[in-house]
């Protein structure tokens, strides 16, 4: 399969460091960013990838060259950076991170003055500036300095999250918590958050930000074997797995089973809707369990194309109180910040366990309707997408169609979602049904058509 080792597009710049993602490319992109947001303070941080230091200096060079002041926050989770950007009225922010991508990759995540991803039109404008290479250039008298602030971002983030849970009662319970920090940007903050702030008895692995990633970066059941073992060995009440930039959260229950990300999101949605009235926004690929939970609270669910920025845009438009992307472990709680935040997830789950006195497996068992979810991907040639979509439509004349992102076919007892990946030349396939047999039946039908 063709690999995308460098991608420059509306979602920014991402690639394999070295031959493909070079410091010059990163600096040019930062120059485009600095030109776009204007001369002012820009927050710059990174995850723990080995290429982070090199790229941070390149980005810093590009920002300074356009007359921006660089506020270096060092190694920080992406949500922490986003919160800090919004709270300090900076012109924007850049996080040097490839999120859950493998260690050889890196990328730039770009934020506006509110600490949000740019909308589609802003991103297009930024890309135009990049391709035109018409950057603003600061003279010696206009070049501003680099300041650094490594402490405030973490403090702000912790304060924002803990405002929404009962800290004293959580502390009193002294939960036994297991953590796999993947030696990522959250390593320091997560220990502090769980141990000092929430009074948990913490059993942490891979929380050394100077070490390489000890496992695949994406927190999934098949990559979290060490966490599951740790939970069982230490008889932990709950286990948390993070990605390198601390926006995604995976959860392991006390029996050592890693929950579906959809179920984690559903538990948090349930907790938030119990505490405050409001609607929910999730992407098209997120489980119907969210609809069931929202219906239980008499609330509406809005669906968007896949992508954090899409979910956030819709959340702002609908003034939703909670949202996320179940498929990839993203929980978005606007009272903290319009971004995926693993810390919000941890806090709400511990709070829920405290209030109900139930274990994680009990909570999932009792509160969440059962669904069978299947996913897959197929290599795909450009130009074949149209016929494939048409064939799908024709095969399922009884389905309700949604064409906002690829094609989603919704049935009484399940759904199929087929879309082209933004980052790889593949088609992603997601199927869900209440009955296990029905789910496999739908999957086999679609797989047949795609071949």
């Amino acid at each position: 399969m063709r690999e995308h080792r460098l991608k420059i597009g509306v979602s920014g710049i991402r690639g394999v460091v070295g031959e493909f993602l070079t410091p010059s490319l990163a600096a040019s992109f930062a120059q485009a960013f600095g030109t776009f947001v204007g001369a002012g303070r820009v927050v710059l941080g990174r995850d723990t990838r080995m290429s982070g230091e090199m790229l941070q200096h390149a980005v810093s060079c590009g920002l300074l060259a356009t007359g921006c002041e660089v506020v270096d926050v060092g190694i920080q989770p992406t949500p922490t950076i986003q919160i800090y950007v919004g709270a300090t009225r900076a012109r924007g922010g850049i996080s040097v991170t490839a999120s859950h991508n493998p260690a050889e990759y890196n990328a730039l995540k770009l934020f506006n003055h509110q600490g949000l991803f740019f909308n589609h039109y802003e991103r297009r404008e930024l890309l135009d500036i990049y391709y035109e290479s018409e950057f603003r250039t600061a003279t010696n008298a206009e070049v501003r300095r680099i300041t650094s602030d490594h402490e405030t971002p973490m403090r702000m983030h912790v304060e924002r999250v803990l405002r929404h849970v009962d800290v004293e009662r959580i502390r009193a319970r002294k939960f036994r918590v297991a953590l796999d920090g993947v030696n990522g940007a959250g390593s320091v903050l997560s220990c502090r958050f769980l141990q000092q702030e929430l009074g948990c008895a913490l059993h942490a692995i891979s929380v050394d930000p100077t070490k390489p990633f000890p496992r695949e970066a994406e927190p999934r059941p098949d990559t979290l074997g060490d966490l599951r073992e740790l939970v069982l060995r230490e008889r932990a009440n709950i286990g948390f797995g993070q990605d390198p930039d601390g926006d995604r959260l995976a959860v392991c229950d006390e029996t050592g089973r890693v929950l579906d990300n959809d179920d984690v999101l559903a538990l948090v949605v349930d907790a938030v809707l119990t505490a405050m009235p409001g609607d929910v926004v999730v992407n098209l690929t997120t489980s119907s369990v969210i609809d069931d939970i929202a219906a239980r609270h008499g609330r509406r669910v809005y669906r968007t194309p896949v992508g954090e920025a899409n979910v956030v845009e819709m959340m702002q438009a609908t003034k939703a109180v909670i949202g996320g992307e179940g498929s990839n472990g993203g929980i978005i709680f606007p009272s903290v910040q319009y971004c995926r935040d693993s810390y919000t997830g941890m806090a709400f789950l511990l709070d829920l366990m405290e209030r109900t006195g139930k274990t994680v497996s009990q909570l999932a068992q009792e509160r969440l309707p059962k669904y069978t979810r299947l996913s897959g991907k197929v290599a795909f040639e450009h130009g074949r997408l149209g016929p494939v979509m048409q064939a799908l439509e024709e095969s399922f004349p009884q389905a309700q169609l949604d064409r906002t992102d690829g094609l989603k076919l919704v049935f009484e007892d399940g759904w199929i979602h087929v879309r082209a990946s933004n980052t790889e030349p593949i088609l992603r396939l997601a199927v869900e049904a209440r009955e296990e047999g029905r789910a496999s039946e739908l999957r086999d039908l679609v797989s047949g058509l795609l071949r």
């Binding site: 410091p23 080995m50 230091e53 390149a58 060079c61 260690a103 600061a138």
Partner: protein, 443 residues
């Protein structure tokens, strides 16, 4: 050889990164030492240099704001494979530049420089994968080790008797001098000592006219024994005497050559074709010899490479940039200052007395806009007109007679033809006027 320009108006971030990436590709594997002068744009340039060097697999030791000679010393001391000095030396604040150094802390030879340029132009940089990237670290001890090296060569204790006024021009010299005062008890009065990024108290030009405007008037009121003016990165120096007279920058090299040759008679003085003929007189006094090469550091470095270090007394230019073998041939204004002060101590004489002890040479300089196409014809014509003198055509045309010479050459940095003319005693006004007329009419 390096990269120089006005930041934001010619010198862009991409040039900095590409040049540093070319340098990182050019160097053998190993650590690289960098530092910068205090210009605001230096931070931007450092960020680009650091990322490009890390990306080409080099560990980077950043010395922060330091003089260029300290960077060069640190390269030698730490067995680094090279170094980059970020700073525009004697240019005004809006300029900045990169200077590249090889493994011994010396400027690149012509062959090395042209290889570096080829890599830059091809843009085929050796970016390593994520497992091979370099790491950035700092070194606080660099300045102290440099001072230690200076103290090993000069009798600093003996220099405590002097009251020394220094115009730091808001550059890096104050950092070194304050520490020299603190650790070795030297008595400095520093002016314009604050490190500045945007505007310097005056142009950092190292010449007698800046000295006469800025430094010389302070000498008598302060009762100082000697005055020194440094450029921003402290690699060259200009001088004022205790009686308030400025010393021409042309005099720095002859004085240091005199001191060096006194300790090593018969050795060589390496300088360029545009530097004062007083050097030949000084060298002859000690049985030494002057080797003249085309103008520019490159030619000086190539010349140095053709002799053994112990054959050479000193190398330098009429601009006040001097290299001594004790410091492995690094242009070093601080070392030059200490050499002058040591000369005062050894002779037990005032600075004005030492200067007065040399025969007077008068030098005239001017320039004419360049028309490149006419240059060869101009040189041929001049050669014909002044056929009675001894001609040297390695860098434009230099014609010399006993006690008199002129040099007409094309500048490497600006689009001008430079005309320079010197005579022992009175200024060679008639010859200079005639030359200027001829150059103007033909250039």
């Amino acid at each position: 050889m390096g990269l120089r320009g006005v930041v934001g108006q010619g010198l862009e971030a991409s040039h900095v990164m590409d040049f540093a990436a070319a340098f990182g590709t050019f160097l053998e594997p190993g650590p690289v030492i960098i530092g910068r002068d205090p210009r605001s744009s230096g931070v931007m340039m450092r960020e680009g240099v650091v990322s490009a060097l890390l990306a080409t697999g080099h560990d980077v030791m950043d010395l922060g704001i330091v003089s260029t000679p300290v960077i060069q010393h640190s390269i030698q001391r730490n067995n680094a494979v090279g170094g980059i000095s970020i700073g525009a030396s004697h240019n005004s604040a809006e300029w900045n530049a990169l200077k590249f150094f090889g493994a011994r802390g010396t400027y690149l030879s012509t062959a090395e420089a042209s290889e570096l340029l080829d890599i830059y132009h091809l843009r085929k940089f050796h970016f390593v994968d994520y497992t091979g990237l370099g790491r950035l670290y700092t070194n606080e001890a660099a300045l102290d080790r440099y001072l230690h090296d200076l103290a090993a060569v000069f009798d600093l204790e003996a220099l405590r008797q002097y009251k020394i006024v220094v115009d730091c021009c808001n550059g890096t010299s104050s950092l070194i001098l304050r520490r020299l005062a603190g650790q070795y008890g030297l008595n400095f009065i520093l002016i314009n000592e604050r490190i500045e990024g945007v505007s310097f108290a005056h142009e950092p030009s190292i010449n007698a006219s800046t000295v006469s405007l800025q430094l010389a008037p302070l000498m008598k009121p302060l009762g100082a024994d000697a005055g020194f003016l440094f450029d921003i990165d402290s690699d060259r120096v200009a001088i004022a005497c205790e009686d308030g007279t400025p010393v021409s920058e042309e005099m720095v090299l002859p004085m240091i050559a005199d001191a060096q040759l006194a300790k090593g008679p018969g050795k060589l003085v390496i300088t360029n074709l545009s530097t004062t003929a007083l050097l030949e007189e000084v060298a002859a006094k000690h049985g030494g010899r002057v080797v003249r090469v085309p103008v520019g550091r490159q030619a000086a470095m190539d010349a140095l490479a053709t002799y053994r270090p112990e054959q050479i007394a000193v190398a330098g230019e009429g601009t006040g940039a001097i290299m001594m073998p004790q410091f492995r041939f690094v242009y070093d204004g601080i070392a030059s200052m200490l050499a002058i002060l040591s000369l005062m101590h050894e002779r037990g004489a005032k600075l004005s007395e030492i200067v007065a002890g040399y025969p007077r040479y008068s030098i005239l300089k001017d320039e004419v806009p360049l028309v490149s196409q006419r240059v060869p014809m101009l040189m041929m014509e001049l050669n014909g007109l002044y056929g009675d003198g001894l001609a040297d055509m390695r860098d434009g045309l230099r014609v010399s007679w006993p006690e008199r010479w002129f040099h007409v050459r094309v500048s490497q940095t600006e689009p001008v033809v430079r005309v320079i003319c010197e005579q022992k005693g009175e200024a060679p006004c008639a010859l200079f006027e005639a030359l200027m007329d001829q150059v103007r009419s033909m250039a």
